[in-house]
Symmetry: C3
Subunit: 304 residues, 3 copies
Amino acid sequence: MKLLHTLCQIAAPSGNEAPLSEYLLNYIQQNKQSWQNQPTVVYGEEFQDCIILVFGKPRTAVFAHIDSIGFTVRYGNQLVRIGGPDAESGYRLVGQDSQGPIECTLIVDERSGALSYVYSREIERGTELTFQCDFRETDTTVQSCYLDNRLGVWNALRLCETLQDGIVVFSCWEEHGGGSVAYLAKYIYETYGVRQALISDITWVTEGVHPGQGVVISLRDSLVPRRSYVERIRRIAQAAGVPHQLEVEGSGGSDAKELQHGSQPWDWCFVGAPEDNVHSPDEIVDKRDIESMLALYQVLMQKL
Amino acid sequence: MKLLHTLCQIAAPSGNEAPLSEYLLNYIQQNKQSWQNQPTVVYGEEFQDCIILVFGKPRTAVFAHIDSIGFTVRYGNQLVRIGGPDAESGYRLVGQDSQGPIECTLIVDERSGALSYVYSREIERGTELTFQCDFRETDTTVQSCYLDNRLGVWNALRLCETLQDGIVVFSCWEEHGGGSVAYLAKYIYETYGVRQALISDITWVTEGVHPGQGVVISLRDSLVPRRSYVERIRRIAQAAGVPHQLEVEGSGGSDAKELQHGSQPWDWCFVGAPEDNVHSPDEIVDKRDIESMLALYQVLMQKL
Amino acid sequence: MKLLHTLCQIAAPSGNEAPLSEYLLNYIQQNKQSWQNQPTVVYGEEFQDCIILVFGKPRTAVFAHIDSIGFTVRYGNQLVRIGGPDAESGYRLVGQDSQGPIECTLIVDERSGALSYVYSREIERGTELTFQCDFRETDTTVQSCYLDNRLGVWNALRLCETLQDGIVVFSCWEEHGGGSVAYLAKYIYETYGVRQALISDITWVTEGVHPGQGVVISLRDSLVPRRSYVERIRRIAQAAGVPHQLEVEGSGGSDAKELQHGSQPWDWCFVGAPEDNVHSPDEIVDKRDIESMLALYQVLMQKL
């Protein structure tokens, strides 16, 4: 889990994904020789900080967002949310401005809910703060900030090791309104004719989804995917005997929002491990669910 | 009204429009010989469950959504909404899971508003339920669930009988966040250069819109269409002497949302009969408004 | 400020921008001979009421929306908002229906917040009303309705006088859900390869943004722009010595929403003067901020 630990430590809130994008490009460069098949690596200014890996003759694309939630320093010691982070007084935040690295403490006003920081000096306006990474591993679990979605990124990178035909996409801005998948989806559809997607992301432990019972196939969240595509995925998972759970939610979203609303006829399904303590510094995932997530992606990319 | 009755009975909630799409393809195949002009029928995986009919040299496209509102079975006996159905304890719901067909009863918790079903067994997670169709016709009215938008679909099919130049589109997901019109609009604009749209859908009886006073031309809902296009439609309706009413709302939406926000310069206008008991099993429409709706579409498709 | 005064007086609420579009086309026709470089003027039905000016070899596009907030007459004397106008009983509204020009008074029901008008006769359903323009100029300020965004339009027109390479876009519907920037952005990217944008619009005076302290560079509003692009803009502004302020907000939006969510990889930044009394008939801007806004646009279009 050394790779996952490293991924969780790199600050890359929505809009400033460049540091993680650079790390991934280096990682891909250094590791792809050990992968069973060599991908074409698509990146550059026309893709902002996103990366596309194309293996063989692709039929399906995996989307893993690389950005995280966080906070922006507003005026005085005020903070504004990036995405929807959990906020509790005492959470440790880190960042950097022109005066140097920052480690400060989050304060939530009990009455107004207003967010601020406590620090030895004023932090420069517009500075981004993210959760300080406290990575904890046991025999059965991993726990850290930003498992959502560094675990989805980790899953995508591990998938690359054996992938024959398929596309792996590292996207931006998912936690804060989206903004990259629309053009990534257009490029992929127009260049490769691919319109099947899997969303490699992390979902929630709920009354119907339990840790350790397998990767989640989401039948719906705030959006309803095309039924016939989701049914194909369920059948493949059953036939392969990969432990999995079915999720039905009325809220929540993912990169799939942009696929659903874009100008190409994408079929999509969210497939990911569930976590507890969502969007906090203490996100926790059962290792069995990580294992079944990767196993299901491997079989889906072959069978879909 | 036999066709309308059949259309209202077919379950096709957003995301699972395939059954109605198949019915329509069969209907078109069996009936188009009796139409004055033969359309090109565009469909297939690249259009998911949507259908496009192209007649002659088109200048205007009619959009009729084929999906309906409904409910998804969540965990235990919980239900989650598909779109915005009206919910009252006692409504009869139907569906199907691997154990067979289902007829159950909707329950709304008075305090929390939470939705559930009562049935002799547990229904499988993710199963879709729709209103049981009780189709009622009098000399002056039709009443059923899903007149919104099976009546808009019926209007589009009847329009096909005499249509010379134009496009008729059967779209998906309108009731639940959209997701097909963006690519349909792109395809139509890029293939045929068409950028004028009419939304064949059902609106609301309100203090300003009354049953029996004619089809509604909507001057705005939550979105504001381009004034110059709406004015042309008003002038054509007046010149033709088709009974009609003008609607002005601050809320509500339609397939036009995706036209307005898409990457092509569509002009659009919502033109449809008003109904009462919106999104309930008892939607009711005055037959005179159905008649003027079809009449106005016939003249608009000639004059626009 | 005669040009700004004229711009503020022309009624062009979202959806009915045609009058201002016509004025601008005439203005461009009559004034472009005095500009240092001659642009290609792109307009016509395929751009609805928008206008694109292309100078030299463009690298960056400036977006200025020409629509304004307002009200639509509903049923009886009811009004519905176009965009988010401030509403206070007594505000003077103007419009026109088939019976002639209208000057009436806005009424806000204290309990329900419902909007209505008082006038000597009933105004026709669907008529648009806008604030009556009371343009006030002092040595240090301008004050009027619709400085948002006629001042952004004015800035764009003044920029044209000396612009060598760049694109100036006059867009529609910004105040009410958007609807033109998606296709404008597509056209510009596909035709000219341009993907850098500046949003020439007006922002808010707040606890962190003060009148007279310079044009605002917005580090974020409800959306978070790509950090690396905003940093380039900050560096150019600093190097040029143009007075400016940094804004950090958690709400608010602009034409950038459509750039962020569209199918092209646009980088964008909101750069504009701050105003007080936002969306009221009494919007007020400090002349020093107008001056630094134009100065910053001139340098950014050279350096970006």
